[in-house]
């Protein structure tokens, strides 16, 4: 009374769906003869014919026709099971991401993914759960001119605005706008230096008509995270992309002392390129979709934020 000939049923379903034994054989990674044998075994077990080899492909016999839709549904479900279980498999995803992006955007979010797929290990820029292996970059995330080819996923461009510590923001709150910067150190982030659209202090001050001596003087930072650290310690002001600040804006640990309307979009964008071979692994594809979803969230958040400049020209 037990269900037998599962492999025969599988072959039968595939052969009917694909229309030929050969196609089914390719899908199953076996020889066409094996598929024929599987089906024949079931036919002989049942004592009835199941398929007729007609011109241009296979056709089911009347005896089988009633069961076909159930057969198809069954293997559809099994396919889903297969995918879901494969997603839970142990796998290492190796990511090479520009350091600031990895530290400030990717790593804080990736715990969310790891919670859903606990057996997936990450190696980000050589560090993480999985050890570094040579030649194993599944996903590279860069910041640069937008590529229009299909192999790159656009994540988002950023929105740059001066930031400071809450303390400094408080101290300048009552000053006239044009005097706000005078006297404070200006921190310069190398990160955006190549971006033709990203403002530096010199250009931003000129556009905003602020009073400021020596706008190019100040400390240069190669790493945004180091600059943020300095800013939290009241070291001065920096022009930084909001997307990388994440919670720091919302929870008040960093402030935006100038109107949103003074911000500018970068022309460079963050984009991810996946190794085509890596996308054969369901985990990688799953991660890709997750990454796209997260990026869309950030993009929408930035858009809404920048939009708010028009609605209310408030200081933050």
């Amino acid at each position: 009374m037990a269900l037998t000939h599962l492999k025969s049923l599988q072959a039968l379903e595939l052969a009917l769906r694909l229309g030929s034994l050969q196609a089914a054989a390719r899908a199953l990674w076996v020889t066409p003869a094996a598929v024929g044998q599987r089906i024949k075994a079931l036919e002989e077990y049942l004592g009835i014919d199941l398929v007729v080899r007609g011109r241009q492909g296979l056709r089911p016999t009347p005896e089988l026709s009633g069961a076909i839709e159930h057969l198809r549904a069954a293997f559809q479900e099994l396919g889903t099971v297969d995918t879901m279980l494969n997603l839970q498999r142990g796998d290492e995803i190796h990511i090479a991401a520009i350091a600031d992006f990895a530290d400030l955007w990717l790593k804080p979010r990736i715990e969310d993914f790891k919670a859903a797929y606990p057996h997936v290990l990450f190696c980000i820029n050589g560090e993480g759960d999985a050890p570094l292996r040579i030649g194993q970059i599944d996903c590279a995330i860069s910041f640069g001119p937008q590529h229009t080819n299909a192999t790159d996923d656009l994540l988002f461009g950023d929105f740059l605005l001066p930031i400071s510590s809450p303390e400094i923001a408080h101290r300048i709150a009552n000053l006239a706008l044009r005097d706000c910067l005078e006297g404070w150190p200006l921190l310069h982030l190398d990160f955006y230096k190549e971006d033709p659209g990203a403002p530096n202090w010199s250009s931003w001050i000129k556009v905003q008509h602020l009073k400021r001596t020596e706008p190019n003087r100040g400390i240069r930072f190669q790493r945004i995270s180091a600059a943020l650290e300095a800013i939290r310690a009241n070291a001065g002001f920096a022009i930084c992309g909001l997307a990388l600040l994440g919670e720091d804006i919302g929870d008040g640990s960093l402030n935006l002392p100038f109107p949103v309307s003074t911000g500018h979009w970068t022309t460079h964008v963050f984009q991810a390129r996946f190794h085509p071979e890596a996308l054969l692994r369901p985990q990688v594809t799953c991660f890709r979709h997750w990454l796209q979803g997260q990026a869309t969230g950030t993009r929408d958040w930035l858009l809404q934020f920048a939009q708010s400049a028009k609605a209310s020209n408030m200081k933050w």
Copy 2:
């Protein structure tokens, strides 16, 4: 990329559904160790645990939990496929039925069943597609007092009414009712003789207050079909159950020259008894349901027919 470990998935689903490896092993007709191996093989292939052996049964791990419902659905569908294909298998169903019932009710209808399940062969009272084999009665159909036990399926009781050929019906159409029978032969069917509720000519005529000499005289028939033949040849009248006449009433090849209100229900009923072991074969169970459905159809038809006596007291 092909779906593998089908047997493992089957064992997994069964073990989870039944709650233990042992129960699954019984269902699959293998040893418990084999079930454990199947599941373990899948676990090792995936590299993740799928079940935990907790107190009182198996429980799925979080990694598996999301896929369980799909797994269950898949094997539910496959079970349906299995049943449907098994129904199409070649099988012989051996029926012992009281002859008149077999000839007049069962055989005319059974073509319908055979069309749906072309590979099922029937042997009815030793005749038919399948040869007679000793000790192989799957279903016995009798006419007698209704059994109240669960092993007998009630099919229907019959409704008895005088019948004649159309010609005779036409000839008596203008006579006074009480003179209708006088002069015609009365045919007696042995079939209903044991039934205490079934009228014979003598009792029927007395109740209807007809004028008739020697109501017990006439020809006796052991087989209803022979009597019907005679009636079609204008041999006279017979009191017969309508269920066995089938199309003959509807298409006018036999007539009911007296009002429906003069009819009587039998106290005996047709009932089917299936061999318990035979019911393990899906074809037999399927036939049983078909038989019940057909019997219900006849029962409803009879009821509606008898009911019509009250609505319109018309002659047929």
